[in-house]
Symmetry: C2
Subunit: 282 residues, 2 copies
């Protein structure tokens, strides 16, 4: 059992980490750090943290593990601030994050931190279109995949420790380089989100009363926070544009087949989609 874990940013992910740590008896103290006392009070009432503060220095001082769960555009600054404020003995000061992009974050932090500690990037592939600690769940990470993304500079013992942390929350851990991670999630997460949002935006509102489960499923993630997702797309711009081009190519082949009444080509594309989708189950 850890003595103190600090969570910077106690929303859906940070709150779920806190709930899981406490439910599983993995930490004596869970300190919630954020900007809004009111939001942190809800986290305390929900049992996601044992105490909270809006002061990062005070919050991280005695933590042996700091998990940064803020929006991707803020993670680098938050990790650096936490490093400067930490008073933990160096071998125990471990800092990770939960950001949806890893390349820029890990490049900025792998050269070393301004204060105490070592950073190892993480991305738990769990979540929901609904943000906020109100929707946090202690079993959010049960069976989900967490990608841990060390760089060549990351000491192996710290990789092992971060992998063990996510495993202890119920997650399955996959190791990848930050680049590999970003390329993969552009394909299976970022572009699907972009497409869902564009589809919802393009739908003529007068027809929504006829929207059934197909539209609902296909556009579900479009309810996610626009500002958070803008940051994700911007951070992973190159890979997203690459995966988007692959999607646009398939879409435009389908359009051409439909225009040309080429039913065989339409079936071929639909079958390619079905084949991929069927490998995952419903």
């Amino acid at each position: 059992m850890r003595d103190t874990v600090a969570i910077i940013g106690v929303g859906l992910i940070g709150g779920s980490i806190g709930l899981a740590l406490r439910r599983r008896g993995l930490a004596k103290n869970v300190v919630g750090i954020g900007r809004s006392e009111q939001r942190l009070q809800i986290a305390l009432e929900r049992g996601a943290v044992t105490r909270f503060t809006t002061d990062v220095g005070n919050g991280v001082a005695d933590a042996d593990l700091i998990v940064v769960c803020t929006p991707v555009g803020r993670i680098v600054a938050d990790v650096q601030q936490a490093s400067r404020a930490s008073r933990a003995c160096p071998p125990h000061a471990l800092i990770t994050d939960a950001g949806s992009t890893k390349g820029a974050i890990c490049r900025a932090l792998s050269a070393g931190l301004p204060g105490v500690g070592v950073f190892v990037g993480s991305h738990p592939m769990a979540g929901s279109e609904r943000g906020g600690v109100e929707f946090a769940e202690p079993d959010l990470f049960d069976g989900c995949v967490t990608v841990v993304t060390p760089t060549e500079q990351t000491p192996e013992e710290h990789v092992t420790a971060i992998k063990a942390f996510w495993t202890s929350l119920g997650s399955r851990v996959v190791r990848a380089t930050p680049e590999e991670h970003d390329r993969a999630v552009a394909d299976v997460s970022h572009v699907p989100h972009l497409v869902a949002a564009a589809l919802a935006a393009a739908t003529d509102g007068q027809f929504l009363p006829l929207a059934a489960s197909g539209w609902r499923d296909t556009t579900r993630v479009a309810a996610g926070d626009p500002e958070l997702w803008q940051q994700i797309f911007s951070e992973n711009r190159g890979h997203v544009l690459q995966s988007l081009a692959a999607f646009e190519k398939v879409l435009s082949s389908f359009r051409k087949a439909l225009e040309d009444k080429n039913t065989a080509e339409m079936v071929r594309i639909l079958e390619a989609g079905k084949e991929k989708r069927d490998t995952l189950g419903s």
Copy 2:
């Protein structure tokens, strides 16, 4: 209670109609008509029909309601064959369908049938990516919307009767012209399906182990039957191309905003998508 309802095509939709009719005590006899005795035997065992036959003439002879649940490309021919074979007294011979497109079908049938009966088009907006009577459910239509699409030639008493039929299965009925229906479903059903299939097809298979709920939701409908969906796209070609163009326009605005690092425009599009999505709930 009706005496005899005949269902031509006893898959997910036809089977669910049979189960609902029997569960709700709405028909004494439910005759299943299809091509495969083996599939019809499963329908009988599941309780979706009270008897079955592969002979349309024999199956529809005494039915006062015939529901055609075959793929859209076969509906016109199946309705005409059923009309010729019906021996019902003309005021009682009512024929409807459950096809996902309505324009071409209703145009072909509104001029009159070759034999007995009157046709009124229907589209229950329920279903699943999984086909077959194995997945049929008596409550599939509970709370779903069914669009009933009479033409100017359809006698009002028959529209009322078909609306009452779907209401009796638990569905909410919306009346529209075949054209209005096709334009709406291109937007809220056909293009979402096309986009989901293209997205699944474009995903690099090596990254699928990292696919989480976002990819799963967004591509769920891509598991649907490619041949059935090719027929739907082909029948509703004009409206699908029109809705697809609207989607491609939004998608390309987003790509341009991402290329140009225009974060305000990215947020604007994501917000437009979220606003539409939020009106429907999760």
